[in-house]
Chain length 336, copies 2
DNA sequence: ATGAAAGCGCTAACAA
DNA sequence: TTGTTAGCGCTTTCAT
């Protein structure tokens, strides 16, 4: 059994079966001119009878069009990345391409391996959702004649990227918080050097300034953006006399909410909470969470679209910035 | 730019650069005997300098070993399926294989397309997580000399499969419910013909019998297993005087819980609730949900392991049944 | 230890 | 309209 394609029928078999040469079969199957309609029908019929599946490997070798796009993501199980992958996949399918999905498990080493793998498979382009890739990684790919587009991150000025506008999204949210009467906001952010955290903090400072509220460094906590940390860090924040919490994402917000519930602190009466990401669950909890929605599937689609355009004809890199949408629910005391 | 591989360096370039023939380069790179160690080093060095990436397409054409495995799943964004994919991917990577992931968007038509695609790509095997595939689909794949293994479903007696034991999982849960004092359990199940629903219902009947409780058909609701339906169907169930709810999955359970919260019904005091699946969120809600945990990543790994074994040497199909694990939390009134 | 030659399954000139 | 030929980039005998 071992050798693959053992009993795979080839174009030669089909040709023999129809009493013609392989070239005619090729022409017929690829709908090219130069075959009589009757022969074309006969050949197509034969393919069905013989259960013939064209060998894409051989086709790619000669045409140099693998119709394959590589997609590199940090983690398949994350809904955020999976959604981007969904968008990429759907769009590429519709355009006759297929995607070679590489889950890097948030591991830089695996990511490098995957890039090599994609090069070897002769993909026509790569969409990178990566935090670790360097300028030189990008360059190495482009030097091989493979187009690259960054999704959700800006990896380099030399390639196009499509990203969510964290500054504007956070701006909307913070203004809404002020509107809801928040006067002393505590922040649970992510890694201090993460671009996401930086951009949203910038929005915070801006809104504080707009409202002539003094910016208070002590109300900010930087941490790993997990549910557990949302829970743990809330206690400390509450001691600082804040009236509301902005969490860097919904998981963290959920952790904060859980802490409050466990300690008899009513939301939104005693404390208001806002998140970011709009997880499915965020609308399901007892006090539905006000948050910011990002168009993940659309982001994936846009990145794929961009990549295909650049494959068709090289063009200068561009940036597409998607504006997130504020989702007003109840955790900031909005009236229903 | 269009033609791919435009500037891709080939084995011939490497050979020329070293003043040898392509065959020597091939031998060197594949670590085969018949090359002097010094030449091997020289060649490997040249590959690095020239940024040479072996053309896997050409290699596959001749060796007939694509080192590619197809994975067909209904939906990438579902955490359940994504986790299975993770397991498959991790294991195959460790064995030198890569996976061609196909998201079918729960669409039978796309699934058929994807099977064709995988055949054309000459994958060495396929792992199917499918509800719609028929016996004849399976047969068509095997006839092409491609091995198939079913994951999470039993598609056919002619292929191996690895599944979660819904009967045993549900059995544990229902016995625990009885132990927690549930006397009149309402069920919100999925599609009446779904194997999952059937198996868990069978466990329910068994437990009812064990405890000499009359089985009451009226306490069962069949519906699409979504959060929304969990919310909606709860009202009707509550009118039937039940003291507890078993939901076919955690999403549905969350919907039921939300309904109760919205209507001042206390969990677990007024009504007890149990789910199935152990979503991440289930431990995060105000009254953590008692549920059943399934080893999704492990399931994927096992399926991949099985497939590789069958690719190495054909063997009779086997079934691997994974036993889920009851996760006792608080929604059935367990004391902490 | 190295080279020469054939061929994997297909497409794409060029002939006929 | 159809056939003939060459060759994509590699591996693999078989010579040397």
């Amino acid at each position: 059994m071992r050798p693959l394609g053992h009993n795979m029928v080839s174009i030669v078999d089909v040709a023999r079966h129809c009493g013609v040469t392989p070239s005619s079969v090729s022409r017929a199957l690829n709908n090219k001119a130069g075959v009589s309609e009757s022969l074309r029908q006969k050949i197509k019929q034969a393919c069905i009878e013989l259960n013939y599946a064209p060998n894409e490997v051989a086709r790619t070798l000669i045409t140099k069009e693998s119709k394959l796009i590589g997609l590199i993501i940090p983690d398949l199980v994350s809904t955020y990345y999976a959604s981007i992958a969904k968008g990429v996949n759907e769009y590429l399918r519709s355009q006759g391409y297929n995607v070679l999905l590489c889950d890097c498990n948030r591991d830089e080493h695996i990511e490098k391996d995957n890039i090599q793998f994609l090069k070897r498979q002769r993909v026509e382009g790569i969409i990178m959702v990566s935090v670790t890739a360097s300028e030189s990684d990008i360059k190495a790919i482009k030097d091989s004649g493979i187009q690259v587009v960054a999704a959700d991150v800006e990896l380099s000025d030399s390639i196009s990227s499509v990203i969510n506008d964290n500054y504007t999204g956070a701006l909307q949210l913070f203004r809404h918080m002020i509107h809801q009467g928040c006067k002393n906001i505590g922040l649970i952010l992510g890694n201090k050097r993460s671009k996401t955290t930086i951009d949203r903090l910038r929005a915070f400072k801006q809104v504080m300034e707009e409202n002539a509220i003094e910016f208070n460094e002590h109300n900010i906590i930087y941490t790993d953006a997990t549910f557990e940390n949302g829970y743990k860090k809330t206690k400390g924040l509450l001691g600082k006399g804040i009236d509301s919490i902005f969490a860097i994402n919904d998981s963290v917000a959920l952790g904060a909410i859980k802490y409050c519930q466990d300690h008899g602190i009513k939301i939104p009466d005693n404390i208001k909470v806002a998140g970011y990401d709009d997880l499915e669950i965020s609308s399901m909890i007892s006090v539905p969470l006000t948050t910011v929605h990002q168009r993940k599937i659309f982001l994936g689609k846009k990145a794929a679209e961009l990549l295909l355009q650049e494959i068709e004809n090289a063009q200068d890199p561009i940036k597409i910035v998607l504006t997130p949408k504020l989702v007003v629910r109840a955790s900031l005391g909005e009236k229903q």
